[in-house]
């Protein structure tokens, strides 16, 4: 039995979500109407998984999450609206240790829930099976807060416009694919890369469209590298991080001036978007595989594993996040199982491995 605490201020949402899990079977469900009630139930009920609404009266979801992670860490699934505000709050929540999030239905609850139900069930099941966040989350949180302080202000973006690269001039490129648990993992890797990192970094993080702009903005403020969301054809430059737009794919292509990345309509051939597999395959078609480094980090499913295994065979370098640090060891685990992981590294070592590969 999975003990699930549903925290939501809407009676209707509590009812439909409760019903969903009761019908699914295998759950003991309790409810809380706001953060205060949730914390009260945290110790008595000892939930395995908490679903937490972001907007609530009295104590909002973020403050509640912060307290949960200090008092009794467990897997928390954020339920958040697909708005710009919601995106910011959700990214912060992931930073604070939330396991993952699901978009909140914004219209007719019963209709939207039909679409949401399988996602919700999947993610709660995965959350229950994930490792409980450990107390070191506290240290991570402190670090995250410090990171926002002015002392950690990013270095000015490298001046690149004056040095246009010529076709094929890129000495290398990094492709990072990740899903559940990805935003804090990306932050850990990208903040640890220096402003002088010589290659472009291409990021495919499975996310809805409304979230990736926030993610890129947030990363841009805390990283030494310049981080942009790719909204149209964009030339690749060293030292820049290119975040794929959500709900679409990103591919590498070429113009007269050199390689570019551009968003492409989500391909029905791939299950998750932005598709890591499609990004890696398109990069391999445009750039010599030996100059590519693929990094596959935490996430459910297997996106990226097949293409990175192919990259490895073609002479590229690949790094899979180690099981002990991955929130969900699905994608990197699959890469390891396929024999496609040249290196397996814990999250905090990945940036160092990249710098060892790149002539910084």
């Amino acid at each position: 039995m999975i003990k699930l605490l549903i925290v939501d201020d809407s009676a209707l949402m509590r009812r439909v979500m409760g019903q969903l899990f009761q019908e699914a079977g295998g759950y003991v469900v309790e409810f809380a109407r706001d953060g205060v009630e949730a914390l009260a139930k945290l110790h008595a009920f000892r939930p395995d998984v908490v679903t937490l609404d972001v907007q609530m009266p009295r104590m909002d979801g973020l403050r509640c999450l912060d307290r949960i992670m200090v008092e009794r860490p467990c897997a928390v699934l954020m339920v958040s609206s697909l708005t710009a505000d919601g995106a910011d709050a959700t990214l912060e929540a992931l930073q604070l240790g939330a396991f993952d999030f699901v978009p909140k239905p914004d219209r007719t609850v019963s209709l939207a829930l039909d679409e949401l139900a399988p996602v919700l069930l999947d993610k709660v099941r995965a959350a229950a099976a994930s490792r409980v966040p450990r107390s070191h989350r506290l240290a991570e949180r402190l670090r995250a807060r410090r990171a926002a302080l002015p002392a950690f202000a990013p270095a000015p973006p490298p001046v690149i416009a004056d040095h246009p690269t010529r076709p094929g001039d890129l000495a290398g490129a990094v492709i990072i694919g990740t899903s559940t648990g990805g935003p804090p993992a990306l932050e850990a890797v990208l903040t640890a890369l220096p402003g002088s990192f010589p290659w472009p970094v291409l990021v495919a993080q499975h996310m809805p469209a409304a979230f990736t702009a926030s993610l890129a903005r947030r990363l841009d403020t805390i990283c030494a590298l310049r981080v942009v969301e790719v909204a149209g054809p964009t030339p690749l430059h060293p030292g820049n991080v290119y975040v794929a737009r959500g709900d679409a794919d990103m591919t590498v292509s070429r113009r007269a001036a050199g390689p570019i990345v551009l968003p492409a309509p989500a391909s029905p051939a791939h299950r998750w978007h932005p598709s890591v597999d499609r990004l890696v395959a398109s990069a391999m078609a445009q750039l010599p595989p030996a100059r590519l480094v693929g990094v596959l980090m935490t996430g459910m499913g297997n996106d990226g594993a097949a293409s990175m295994a192919a990259l490895r065979i073609a002479g590229g370098r690949t790094i899979a996040e180690a099981e002990e640090t991955a929130v969900v060891w699905g994608m990197p685990g699959e890469l390891v199982r396929m024999g496609g992981a040249e290196q397996v590294a814990p999250l905090d070592a990945i940036a160092a491995r990249l710098m060892a590969l790149a002539p910084v």
Binding site: T251, S253, R254, R255, A256, L262, A264, P265, S267
Partner: protein, 87 residues
């Protein structure tokens, strides 16, 4: 593979989907003067039509699909400067 280059000719074969627009644009941009052969084409996504209008290559071949042949092809072939011909 619906977009293939064969010497100075790009062949569009089968149903060209939205994702075919990028390789087509990339080829047309890289090598001006290529000819596009629609003879084996069964359908063009708007994004592909748009790329053909934008790069304005010489278009040859007569597709068998009536919509393509009678409605779309006249806009792409021959005097297409304004793209407006009654059918």
């Amino acid at each position: 593979m619906t977009v293939t280059r064969d010497g100075a000719t790009i062949r569009l074969q089968g149903r060209c989907r939205v994702e075919d627009a990028e390789p087509l644009a990339s080829l047309l941009h890289a090598t001006p003067g290529l000819t596009v052969d629609l003879g084996d084409c069964e359908g063009l996504h708007a994004a592909v039509v748009q790329a053909l209008l934008a790069f304005a290559p010489k278009v040859v071949g007569t597709p068998s699909d009536p919509v393509l042949r009678d409605l779309i092809l006249p806009l792409l072939a021959g005097e297409r400067q304004r793209g407006q011909r009654p059918i």
